[in-house]
Symmetry: T
């Protein structure tokens, strides 16, 4: 009997809606739609399902994560700048008891001092940073396989 | 001539909508509805009125507190994780000139380092923490009596 | 068959013997005897017994707390300035295995920087501050009920 | 051939909707509407156009700043308390590539320690603080002229 | 009966005598004389008088500020690097009881860490930074109008 | 009609009972009795009365200072090592509302880092340090004259 | 004409030779040989070549990285505890001009404070942590594809 | 001619009177009397004499140490929590010119952050920690032999 | 044969030329000339000679202190704000090998944080602060007698 | 049936090969060979076996500790300067699951600031410092008996 | 055709006028004139010209450095204590665009904590310290040759 | 009778074997062999002998420095990144009692924050940095002459 497909929710935080159209020198030229497509292709290869959401509102992301555990096997979160101060999101991860992999397109350890620390990382399963938008694909594989 | 009844607004911040259903080992098994009921019973004993609101959105809480002074004698706020960084809520308390008692279900001083400091506490009348959901009842009495 | 009455020991630390007679603008006009009376009234309502002690000597408070667990169900401690550096009292709470509720008449978070941190709080059940001498009554209820 | 009029978006952050009605001793008696009128008069003198918005929601301000560059020559932002922790707004300024002048009605350097640092200032063109609501007018001139 | 003209003293601190001739990429190509001229034009528009002084000697600036209150309605000070350590100038502002507006041509918050803090700002009326030499004009208007 | 004589209480804290007999290279060869005699001679010259007490017990010093205001015009306190952490003594000074001059025989600013800060100094009238046992005489004159 | 195969050097730092045999609760039961095998399988899928080395000697790892650029397209480094203080390895990465992906089996952000910071991360392309030994496979894909 | 027996004073600080009866998981099941007996046995083997004292009062320990040099060849001190803030005891060691070996039953470096630093250690001959109550015996040998 | 009179140089630093005329609430109503007169009277009583100088220039004070040892037995220095950052004056004291007593009219420990530390104090004989202008007289006695 | 002899490995870190020949004022005149002999004598008394090793190479010590658990009942480590930064050795202790007693000949708490903290101590059983080379003997007894 | 001689300005800061006459144990017995002579001899060997200046006034040094670039190929600066806080001199180096080599006679890294950091060093070409007055000669060679 | 030639050991630490071939923009194009040749030429002029060694292994450098005093009059050490954390090398300098001059090719004070501090500098005679490879020559002269 076949095992049910795993499903993963990909959440992008503030300013990631601008991906590809602004600051291409740092973030590359792929748009968030491009990222969605490449992740969907990878999901097809891995035999899992993915949903995509983006919000600039911290509280909205909190709400999504709270209930993600009821509908998804894992969450992939690129928290953008919320990584550095949103204890509300951090608490939502703990409260929602969902497995979460944190992704950053850029290497946060090679940028401004305030970006070196993520308050969400301690409650995540793990983190991938600096590997560009490929990081989303790798996070998907990690979310599905480990 | 009888004195008009005092009224108190109870605001719960991010992730408290999950109370009782998630992490019962830390937060207990009472839901936010249970808390509302026990606070309403206490309000009846104390002869005051209470309203209940919850939000994961910082800005919504800011707005509620700004105008609370026009409709309520006091606010009881469990700011959740916002306690530790929301200067916007802190400013709203000052700007709204409302008497506010801060409540935390857990003992924030016995948890992670970042939870030891509340940026809202300095503008609150006082704080009650670590006494479980009974803390809401005690805060109500404080809001009404002192 | 009736349950035995609960008993609570209320300990006041350094300078609280001056309550009501010095700095009334900050600490109010109630004396420590007034506080004792109001707490005794509340104890009668709650059906519990209370004892009161005050000391300016750290070591005496350490000794009281060490053995409090043998005679009392809980301790209410207003440690005064000892809150900010007495690890000896903190250790006594842990060693004595007694349930302790920390009380401060003023909002320690709204005063000098050094008062923001209590080294006793992490080993207390919870803390009540800023609610004036009503805080003792609320602490009593917490000590008895939760 | 005449040059097109410059246009500027003025954004006010959390609690500034209360301007003039609360804490007049600190913030003065002018309301946000009064500020709008005096800025509009100055805009007329300078030959530019201005729009006004206010929000208590961090994410809403993020969204406004992201797209401001498409419709306005510059943004004047009074971030209120968001100045001190909203890296999301800071990132939006960078991402949106819009020229932004930060304004504070009060002298943030003469108030509480936490107000001395603005995380938005490093990505702003410049900052004006402590000059009351006149600061908005001066920021407008700076936005238009430099 | 006409009101007497207001008068303002503009003081420039260390290295500002080199303005326009050195590091034009950072400080622009206007010389201190150019700045004086544009400020004088603005003074004429505002109907006030201005005097200009520059010194590399901390003690000389202290002396000027001490007595400025006897001859001027306000002081505009670009303290240069003295902003970051000259408590003697800071004390002179307080002692001299003169209204002082601090100006920096560059955005000090976007430069080296040590430039982020001004020890003079807490005793100034307000500060303008990052708006280039236009900042002097805006400071003049603030000195005269608010 | 003659004015009543002023009276001053001189309190010496922990380890000062060893004065003159231990570590003479640092603290000199005068014993605490010698100090008492020279201060009594100075008191005679100044026309005031002095009492002397020493204790190694923090709580005892707290108690002395609490009531000193009822019997003395001022207190001279050499807190010894208590200077660096006894907030209980600091609170007693505030609570007791007595004028207190702090004295240290050695220059605490030229010794170990932890001695540079006195938590009692902020609530004292002033401090004299590094002038040897003459400091007690000078403190007496200050206590009587200013 | 076919493109030459890419080659990657995988370096494991101190104590990783014990993988799988010690502390399996934290690091899992796979040995370093198991890791090598799964990475080799992945390499076969990705069409690239991999070499494996392990050392407890900082200087040996420095030497390997210095010359890695001459023989490999990229380096995957699990620096173990060297991550937290070996500026010599960090300098070797810069000096050797080799593309390096840092891998940690555990989530270093969820462990002791000293593990939160990697001095190598700022000179790496990116980092993967917390995803177990799957992290090596993902790093390989990143090393080959991005 | 036989050499006179050496004598050592063993002082135990706050809460050590509870040894063995409270928190056995951390401090073991030996009581302070058991420790005294095993140290007396060791003293017999080493041919020296020992006295035992315990106090919860900082000032009492200060007094004991001040005069210990007159009656004992060395002091063994387990300062308990006083280790972390009692500069008064630290000064007494220096003033009393007695050789002192500091003992902690537990490994203070493996416990809470505040326990990592002892303000007494810099003036002690040496410190033994983490070796349980055997530490007292080893300290005795050190006190007698080195 | 009579001993030659001792001579003392009193140096006042920046802003002290304004003494008595500005901020009397903090610094009192005595001018620097009044201080000079009362110190001269005390000098007459003590049988010593005094010279008075004031400067706002750090370098001038450095020069005075360098050579003070050739002409005076001691220096009394009120460094004003230079106390908090002038290592050049601090070095001059050491280099000039002159006995120096530091005086502050106000209690620097009860004012702003930055005033709590004097970089000159570690090289001074001692410090007197908070005792008003009487502090100069006491410093003179200390300079002459100890 | 007799119990097998316990065996202990004594490891000395960098620069300890110079013991006795360099800096005798600090480290004494005993050579490492002398230490070995006295420890061997003690081992004979205690009925255990000891091996001795010394290395200046961090990685070599890591390797020794990794496998020590397979051949020895405990390790005595004088890590020298590695104590203050070698997290690799610290990890080896944890990974090797060997009981380790840390020894320092001098009192590290009475020396330079950087020596006050040992990163190895938190994973050791306990630490002995300041008791000279006798410390090795005491550590051996602790390793065998507790 | 011969190349024009290079010329170097040697500036000595506060208290260096006392060189050789004060604190010879630290600074040696050579006077500043002796230093000038040995540097002139070296200049002759190197075929360059040198000028010497000394000042205790920060502003004077600022002015010298501002214009040094117009007359000299390089500056050698011994800033004395100004090294540790004079951002004005630091800015003058940048503004004056002159090549500057910083010299300290003593090893500033082996002295008081505050001397370890030079705010001028980051804008200097390089620094020589601890090599006595020979450091001036070496700096001259560096100024001329590199 | 002629004086024996002085001999100096030049040690280069990690990554300096790459000098000239990697990152020439920062470190220049001279190889370590080129540096050796220019230093040998200078040695010939100064009439001294030099030996050259390089290692990436901290422990090897420790060993070289320990015994350097037996064969050389001084050591010139470019510790590379070891400068910032190798207390083992620092201890070897002290233990080996050899005169050591520290050299850095680049100006460590103008680079990353972690490079500003050298833990070896406090035990070195002096330091030369930022003067390129000429720094080795100057260090040689210092090693021989001062």
């Amino acid at each position: 009997m076949s095992q049910p497909k795993k499903s993963v929710l990909v959440i992008n935080g503030p300013n990631l809606n601008l991906l590809g159209t602004r600051e291409p020198a740092i973030y590359g030229t792929e748009t968030l739609e491009d990222v969605e497509q490449r992740v969907r292709r990878r999901a097809a290869e891995l035999g899992c399902e993915v949903d995509f959401r983006q919000s600039n509102l911290e509280g909205e992301i909190v709400t999504w994560i709270q209930t993600a555990g009821d509908y998804y096997d894992a969450v992939i979160l690129n928290p953008g700048a919320f990584a550095h101060y949103s204890y509300a999101i951090s608490d939502a991860v703990t409260a929602g008891s969902v497995r979460l992999v944190e992704v950053h397109i850029t290497n946060i350890h090679a940028r401004e001092e305030f970006r070196h620390r993520s308050v969400i990382a301690p409650v995540a399963v793990g983190m991938i940073c600096g590997l560009g938008t490929l990081g989303y694909e790798l996070a998907l594989e990690a979310a599905v396989r480990c």
